[in-house]
């Protein structure tokens, strides 16, 4: 029997506000344990939460970008459960009246994935467990009260690939909005997946499992693929899938049961009496809507139309807002879209990859790349010289002009002079010339290299190519004439 997967995602994104959701503590990642806490986020008796308005604004931004309806009236609720990482023993979240509902996000195929809801909530602290035999756990409350949005999709995804594509698109949008770092490895983007199987072509849903501990895009695809495999094996054997929460085990590339449905907690949600309902003025929402940046999909379309970039280039460059902004900034200095795109996708991404940088860390001055492209186009330096110069621009931040000046880099295109150099090289390397004329075209490369050596790499390779061809042709002609004469002489 053939099965179809039914997949829904619950995505948590940490919001990039400077302060926590209910107090003024910093949200900065990586500070010493418990250094970013106060009586409010520690939930000390008598303290009260005060909602950070930025959190509401950021959530609305996400909602608008994902085509949601923004609730004019929403509220915050308490989700009650005991755990040492939760100092109030309840998490302030949103239950039945989330800020955003009924949105959607289209995939490349044109298929639309519905967004059920987006709500705001506070993060919990972090437990650090000792080795088994030491039997203690440490708790860091720095993360307690860091604002999150939870984005819940309808079960519209049918394959692991669709799920990964959705998550990548979503991440791209959240980053464009500037509301989250979306770093899966730092936990600022987290994803749980619900998955069930049903016989192909039937409407009735199967029993679902919830997958947790998915820490990368790759893990999402693999965990879902594993689960499809596991569930279909069970169903083929006529066994039932258990409704449960399962944990993705990265090391062993498998999912394991975490807790069963019977163990699910009753969170006893109720409206938090310490906070007042969120009532939104439509004008305020409209103001936020007007301030939204161009989103990835729109930007991609525009790059294709405006600069005639290939789809591939546009997709890669709009993968990050920083990269796309950089691209357009380069064009402001020197308008050569395809060249700029090639250099960004080639040299820039290579150098960033080697340095372990993300587009957010990009510090190269776009004017420098523009300037470099102009110099290459004008023949002032060669492409290969340009690559060397760009590497130095990338590492030092110096301008191409400074580097070219300091290192005396220039390109010699003076044909008359280069012709004498080429002639001299041919004269000095009769063996190679002979090889070339004998049909070993590779020898031309050696000869080019010799010219570059003599000119200290400054010769214009284009010019060399032409001159070398001309000079070799002359030699060939001469040789042939000589040979002809010899033949004639012989005949005589």
């Amino acid at each position: 029997m053939d099965f179809e997967a039914v997949i829904g995602l619950e995505v948590h994104a940490e919001l990039a506000t400077t302060a926590k959701i209910f107090c003024g503590c910093s949200t900065k990642y990586g500070a010493g344990p418990n250094t970013q806490t106060c009586p409010v986020c520690l939930g000390l008796p008598g303290t009260l939460p005060v909602l950070n308005e930025k959190v509401v604004e950021y959530c609305i931004r996400a909602g608008l970008a994902l085509n949601c309806r923004i609730a004019g009236y929403s509220k915050l609720d308490r989700k009650n459960y005991f755990y040492p990482d939760l100092p109030k023993a309840y998490q302030i979240s949103q239950y039945d009246l989330p800020l955003c509902r009924d949105g959607f996000l289209p995939l490349a195929s044109g298929k639309t994935i519905r967004i059920t809801r987006i709500h705001i909530e506070e993060d919990a602290g972090k437990l650090i467990h000792s080795a088994e035999e030491e039997r203690y756990s440490l708790v860091d409350y720095n993360r307690t009260g860091v604002p999150l949005i939870e984005i819940v999709t309808a079960p519209d995804l049918a394959t692991p690939e669709e799920a990964v594509e959705f998550l990548e698109k979503l991440r791209r949008i959240l980053m464009y909005l500037g509301i989250s770092d979306c770093k899966m490895e730092e936990g600022s983007l987290r994803c749980d997946a619900n998955i069930s199987l049903k016989p192909a072509g039937t409407p009735q849903l199967g029993t679902k499992t919830e997958l947790k501990n998915i820490n990368s895009f790759k893990a999402l695809g693999r965990a879902l693929a594993y689960e499809i495999e596991r569930q279909s094996e069970l169903l083929m054997e006529g066994k039932a899938v258990k409704q449960e929460t399962r944990k993705w085990e990265e090391a062993k590339q498998r999912t394991l049961p975490l807790r069963s449905k019977e163990e699910t907690q009753d969170y006893r949600y109720f409206p938090d009496p310490d906070l007042v309902p969120i009532e939104l003025d439509p004008a305020y929402v409209a103001e936020i809507a007007a301030s939204l940046p161009e989103l990835p999909e729109a930007k991609k379309r525009r790059l294709i139309e405006e600069y005639h970039l290939p789809e591939y280039d546009a997709d890669l460059i709009t993968g990050s807002k920083h990269l796309a902004d950089f691209f357009e900034a380069v064009l402001k200095h020197y308008f050569s879209p395809k060249a700029a795109s090639n250099w960004i996708m080639g040299e820039l991404l290579r150098l960033m990859g080697e340095a372990g940088l993300t587009p957010e860390d990009l510090t190269v001055n776009p004017a420098h790349l523009g300037d470099l492209l102009r110099r290459i186009d004008q023949g002032e330096i060669s492409v290969s010289q340009g690559k060397n110069v760009f590497e130095r621009v990338f590492r030092t931040g110096a301008s191409p002009e400074e580097i070219i000046e300091a290192e005396g880099i220039r390109q010699i295109s003076d044909e008359a002079w280069l012709r004498t150099v080429v002639a001299q090289v041919l004269k000095d390397n009769p063996q190679s010339v002979g090889d070339y004329l004998g049909g070993k075209t590779k020898a031309a490369q050696f000869l080019t290299g010799q010219v570059m050596r003599v000119t200290k790499g400054q010769a214009n390779p284009q010019v060399i190519k032409v001159l070398l061809a001309q000079e070799l042709a002359k030699v060939r002609k001469k040789t042939e004439e000589t040979a002809g004469l010899a033949r004639e002489n012989k005949d005589l």
Partner: protein, 494 residues
Amino acid sequence: MELCDLTLHEIKDLFVKKEVLPSMVLASVVRRIREVEESLGAYLALDLEAAFAAAQAADGRIKEGKALGVLDGIPVAIKDNLCQAGKETTCASRILQGFVPPYTATAVQKLLDQGALILGRTNMDEFAMGSSTENSAVKPTRNPWDPRWVPGGSSGGSAVAVAAGEAIAALGSDTGGSIRQPAAFCGVTGLKPTYGLVSRYGLVAFASSFDQIGPITKDAEDCALLLSAIAGFDPLDSTSVQGEAVDYTKDLERELTGRTLGLPREYFGEGLDDEVRRIIMAAVAQLEELGARIVELSLKLTEYALPVYYLISSAEASSNLARYDGIRYGRAVAGREDLATYYTRTRSEGFGPEVKRRIMLGTYALSAGYYEAYYQKAQQVRTLICREFEEAFRAVDAIVTPTSPTLPFRAGERLTDPLAMYLSDVCTVPVNIAGLPALSVPCGFAQGAPVGMQIIGRPFAEAAILQIAHQYQKVTAFHRARPYGAGRGGQDGL
């Protein structure tokens, strides 16, 4: 009369005339504390060293005529659920033993800013749950008029301290009557402000949508002074209300002519003690004589107030008190075990029976399958009760009822009968449900015990109910009766 038996405004006038200095008042109060505290048990902790130091500084300011405010140099007691930086705050619970907050409640800070001398922390029912102060995990507090009686609760310690001259004024908190009922039982004036008027920041939460901090004083004028000092918007409390600072003394001297007061039938029916009824009706007659028009009215939903209150307040409490797990602060049980056992032991040993009862009740009311029938239904009825009051206030300026349906009961009498104890709040609870302001003023004595009259106002009409109380007190002397000193026996006055 001893200085400690004077009102805040009397002392303030003496300060202005420089006839008396703060340290003299403090000395008198401390003398009284030495005399009576052992038998009354109003305080959980005294902080006299700090009070004396503050009094010395206040003396200097009073001498120079540079008082920080009307409270400068006034000895004040605060309930043990109000946080003060560096002072152990326990809510009279074992589970908070050793908890020293690093912050000060906004209301307490306002007292400190005005130069008030904080005497110490008063006894209460554990986490403010109770109507007799017998639920304190530390000790019971006795009624100064007769130690066999309870002082009411949960702000029993604050009410007793003021009544007995162990403080000039005090702060309490009122979730279902916890200021007004002990004020009535102890013969003092106590006011629960409109929800949102006084910041709750630093008040250890019992039921967040009901809790309010308020003054307990010797008369309405003192109440107005203390309320003026603590009221106002606080950015640290989202439920505190924006608004200009109000001087609640400014309307006190206006006459009652033209005011319409309503008597809700349901508050005068079954369960009301005959002597209490007689005394309240006499007080009402007095108000009529002062020019107020008295009308009868009906608040039909009154009978639902107690169940609504106990469902919602317990639900909120079950969540508010969940944080006491012994891990970060407060009392922790010894020994290492698994987490669930640790939680269970800490909470089993740390909470008293009444607190446990409410946590269980509230947890139940919020549980899946019961939420709609209990918590949600109660919230719906809450809305109806609010509307019923709104409706009533179209016809009247204030509503007058008994504060408690009975006289102070005997210690131990209702401890084994939680429902009888809950009935003590039957007249006060509806006010918290609707978030209205209300105060209790002494209006007579029966069998030597004080009786309190409750005056309920429209939202933020504290000035109006204080005016009614003050006009009443201008022609009566029940509020001047004192259980100790020269005022003793004052119940016979008038």
